[in-house]
């Protein structure tokens, strides 16, 4: 376990190699091999570390790599404190689970990308892997960080990589803009996070997670007053909202779909966006001492989940649907943490990582097959052309829809159950969302894979087949635009194998968290909750007791009922989707026309972007203009006045200089020039004349010597 620092460093090395040398020298396979190998190494180390953690008595391990910031005396509540930040990595159940997710899914996506990005020119290809590796480096730093500051390094790093990768095709204006948007919106959240960290240090005099948690557990639960802990939590939550795309800062995530699809899968579905959830989970103790903030978290999560789901209902861009779905599922996770079910949130985080990565990669495969077409209206009947992708994506959709037996069912159901205990209202919200989720997911599946093919035509089948070899050969030669599309086709092995692995994961990952009512029958406990417990619960005795108490109140019957109800809702959603998009496709159009107003609102995503544009952006720009006017008139005026004064003074000095000082100098020069006529005669420029002069000198000396000798 002492080698856990290598887990983030390995992809870092890969990024450095590819970035410093690769872009100039490496061929595509070499770059991909380096990236995949470093990620594979990180995955192996992660598995190894995780296995050791499972076997360890004390499930927490901190490795301090080096001193980063030496102790700096800073003011805190309790007088001077030492602000100190070692480069320390912490391996505990929560971070253990996270590194497995990040390195595992990261590795699969590296593999997938090596094929998916093959159409890129060599430089871009290597650059992509450099960014991807760099992202994994920062993400692993984030989850392994032992202090808020190390975590913040990762936090900002993944933000940077997200920006780079969204804007990977930077020559496309929309991509560049989306990158900027993601970056700017994240800044808002990061600002809150930084403030939160400041406040933590000011309050506790330390920024180490464990020490903070221990200190916080000694403080009373702020159920009545909005105290310092609540403030901290609110600020941290602002950070989480930014990173995890919750209301009101979710707007960047759908736009982030401009990036390459593997990026969307890795960063904007499986890992980075869950950093907010992870962070809240990591600070479970703090949050459980601030029930008011918890409520805010739950409400924000619930509302986000519902709102994103409604938008997702009408989107036609396959990646946008998945993006809103991600926002919605993240809302779910926050809902779970908000109601105190940190374990359930983390559990959903894990299952979501599997099926959402799967869905994104599957959609990437489809997009790839359709020659970069993302509009679902132009797809259809793809199951004919790409069976593997279809099957794996279907499994993913089933999982996210919460069909019993698959992973989504377990995690979502647990959240629902916990929510019901906390607040039936929120439960209602969540159930409706679940139904919508099932609907739009299957709408996606049906529009893409079923029905008639609606895409562009390509060369006749026979011809296409005959030219297959030729096309492959052409692909080998160059990627500069000469790529000819020969109709939808199944993706290469390198892309489908990760899909299959993820599909298996999406199917079975839920079995680590079987809910007690089923687990009791088969004699298996909720393994993951039990496993994650030390990270969340131990310290917050008060809340834990309350939670236990509440759950205990939920009878098996009610729980079964809830479960059945949610399954029913999901089933309804699927059925509705089938009805509207397979059985009677015209009906969907009619519906949209009948409900034109609502449809328009949903298609335009509630006009949130426009609202932000007219308020926040316009406001910022207006105030900037005002400030500029002040700057120009007042500040510049003062500076110009000073300038004028200087010039006036210098004119006086100039006159003096010109007639008095220069006059003296010129006089001296004139004297020299006039006098030099006499001496210039000797300077003939003939070297030999000078030599004669030298010789004459020698002659004189010799003569003098002789004279002295003979006379003396």
């Amino acid at each position: 376990m002492d080698l856990i620092w290598l887990i983030p460093v390995l992809p870092g090395i890969g990024a450095a190699l590819n970035g410093l040398l690769g872009i100039r020298y490496f061929s595509k396979p070499v770059a991909a091999a380096i990236a995949c190998a470093t990620m594979g190494g990180a995955l192996l180390l992660s598995i190894f570390a995780f296995a050791q953690l499972l076997g360890a008595e004390h499930r927490e391990h901190v490795v301090t790599l080096a001193h980063w910031i030496p102790p700096i005396p800073l003011q805190t509540v309790d007088g001077l404190g030492a602000f100190e930040a070692p480069w320390a990595f912490r391996l505990d159940p929560l971070s253990g689970m996270m590194i497995l997710i990040v390195s595992g899914i990261g590795f699969l996506i590296h593999l997938y990308s090596s094929s998916y990005m093959d159409h890129e020119p060599r430089g871009g290809y290597v650059r992509f892997f450099c960014y991807l590796n760099l992202f994994c480096f920062f993400m692993l730093t984030l989850v392994l960080g032992s202090t808020f500051l190390v975590m913040f390094v990762g936090w900002e790093g993944v933000g940077l990589c997200s920006y780079l990768l969204i804007g990977f095709w930077y020559h496309k204006k929309s991509a560049a803009d989306a990158g900027k948007k993601a970056f700017v919106v994240n800044r808002v959240g990061d600002f809150g996070f930084v403030l939160g960290v400041f406040l933590i240090f000011f309050t506790f005099g330390t920024i180490d997670f464990r020490e903070v948690a221990e200190a916080a557990s000694q403080m009373p639960v702020e159920s009545a007053a909005f105290g310092v802990l609540s403030t901290i939590c609110l600020l941290l939550f602002v950070g989480a909202v930014g990173k995890s795309a919750q209301i009101p800062l979710y707007v960047w995530l759908p736009d982030a779909m401009e990036g390459p699809t593997p990026v969307s899968a890795l960063i904007h579905a499986a890992t980075m966006v869950t950093a907010g959830v992870y962070m809240v989970g990591r600070n479970a103790v703090l949050f459980s001492h601030a029930p008011m903030v918890m409520t805010i978290v739950a409400v924000v999560g619930g509302v986000t989940a519902l709102m994103a789901a409604t938008i997702g209902l009408v989107q036609t861009d396959i990646k946008k649907v998945l993006a809103y779905s991600t926002v919605s599922q993240l809302g779910y996770m926050f809902l779970a943490t908000g109601v105190g079910a940190f374990g359930a949130g983390a559990f959903h985080l894990m299952t979501h990582a599997f099926f959402k990565a799967l869905l994104f990669l599957g959609s990437g495969s489809v997009i790839h097959a359709m020659n970069d077409e993302q509009d679902m209206q132009k797809m259809g009947n793809m199951k004919l052309y790409m069976p593997t992708t279809f099957i794996t994506m279907f499994v993913g959709a089933l999982a996210i829809a919460g069909v019993p037996g698959l992973s989504g069912f377990f995690s979502k159901d647990e959240i629902l159950a916990k929510t019901f205990v906390a607040s039936p209202w929120l439960w209602g919200l969540a159930v409706v969302t679940a139904g919508m989720t099932a609907f739009y997911m299957f709408r996606l599946i049906f529009m893409t894979f079923f029905g008639e093919y609606r895409g562009p035509k390509w060369g006749g089948d026979a011809e296409g087949q005959a030219d297959g070899d030729h096309a492959a050969a052409a692909d080998d030669h160059g990627h500069d635009g000469a790529h000819v599309w020969h109709g939808p086709h199944e993706s290469p092995k390198l892309m489908t194998v990760p899909l299959m692995i993820l599909a298996v994961g999406a199917a079975v990952a839920g079995y680590v968290g079987i809910p007690p009512i089923i687990g009791d029958f088969v004699g298996v406990g909720n393994a993951i909750e039990h496993f994650l417990e030390p990270s969340f619960v131990a310290e917050s005795a008060a809340l834990a007791e309350e939670g236990e108490h509440a759950v205990a109140h939920l009878s098996h019957v009610v729980e079964f009922g809830l479960m059945a109800f949610s399954v029913l809702i999901a089933g309804l959603g699927i059925a509705l989707a089938y009805h509207l998009y397979v059985r009677r496709p015209k009906r969907a159009v009619e519906l949209a026309e009948n409900w034109a107003g609502a449809h328009r609102v949903l298609t335009n995503k509630y006009y949130v972007d426009e609202a932000y544009n007219s308020t926040v952006i316009k406001g910022t720009m207006g105030s900037a203009r005002g400030l500029w006017a002040v700057d120009r008139n007042v500040v510049d005026g003062a500076v110009n006045g000073a300038g004028w004064l200087t010039r006036a003074l210098s004119w006086v000095s100039h006159v003096l200089d010109k007639y008095v000082v220069d006059g003296l100098v010129n006089l001296a020069a004139w004297i020299c020039a006039e006098g030099s006529y006499i001496f210039r005669r000797g300077q003939t420029g003939l070297i030999q004349n000078y030599a004669v002069a030298t010789l004459f000198g020698v002659f004189a000396c010799a003569t003098a010597f002789l004279v002295v000798r003979f006379m003396g």
Partner: protein
């Protein structure tokens, strides 16, 4: 007796060839006369029991430096003789007279001083641990005169760099 013959023969050769160097119309002839002069000087070194220097004189002077002159003479392929243009202000005749006077003076000094002190002063070097002209010279160069020797090598390096920089047409 033999030494006398050899000395006078060589002296006549050296001076005659040197005059040829200075007076030859064609620069190439000058160079050839210069080589001959140097070879004769080398022979004089042998008479003076400085075999190593004699060989070095041939190797470095005759075989190296003068070849350089020859190259330059050939490269500087002149359309007109450089002697065609003469600056009216030059003091050649004065210089010639002055040089002659100098020669007389120096000869005078030499003859005078040797006549005054016929006894020659010898200052034998401290007993050298090695035998033979070359070895002793090497010993001196690498012990007492090590620093000047190294400086000379640096000088040559600098000259080499300088020559390349100057001679390269486009840098």
């Amino acid at each position: 007796m033999a030494e006398t013959i050899v000395f006078y023969t060589l002296s006549v050769l050296i001076l005659g060839l040197a005059i040829l160097v200075v007076t030859a119309k064609n620069a190439v002839h000058s160079v050839v006369a210069l080589v001959m002069t140097f070879l004769c000087v080398a022979a004089l070194y042998v008479v003076l029991e400085a075999e190593f220097l004699a060989v070095i004189q041939i190797l470095v002077y005759a075989g190296g430096i003068v070849v350089l002159y020859l190259f330059v003479v050939m490269l500087v392929n002149l359309g007109r003789s450089p002697e065609e243009h003469q600056d009216p202000r030059r003091l050649s005749v004065f210089g010639l007279g002055l040089a002659g006077a100098m020669l007389l003076e120096v000869a005078g000094i030499v003859v005078y001083s040797y006549n005054r002190s016929a006894s020659t002063v010898t200052a034998p070097a401290a007993a050298s641990p090695v035998q033979g002209n070359t070895q002793e010279l090497g010993w001196l160069l690498y012990t007492d005169y090590l620093i000047p020797f190294e400086l000379a090598s640096v000088l040559l390096l600098v000259a080499m760099v300088g020559a390349i920089v100057l001679a390269k047409r486009d840098l």
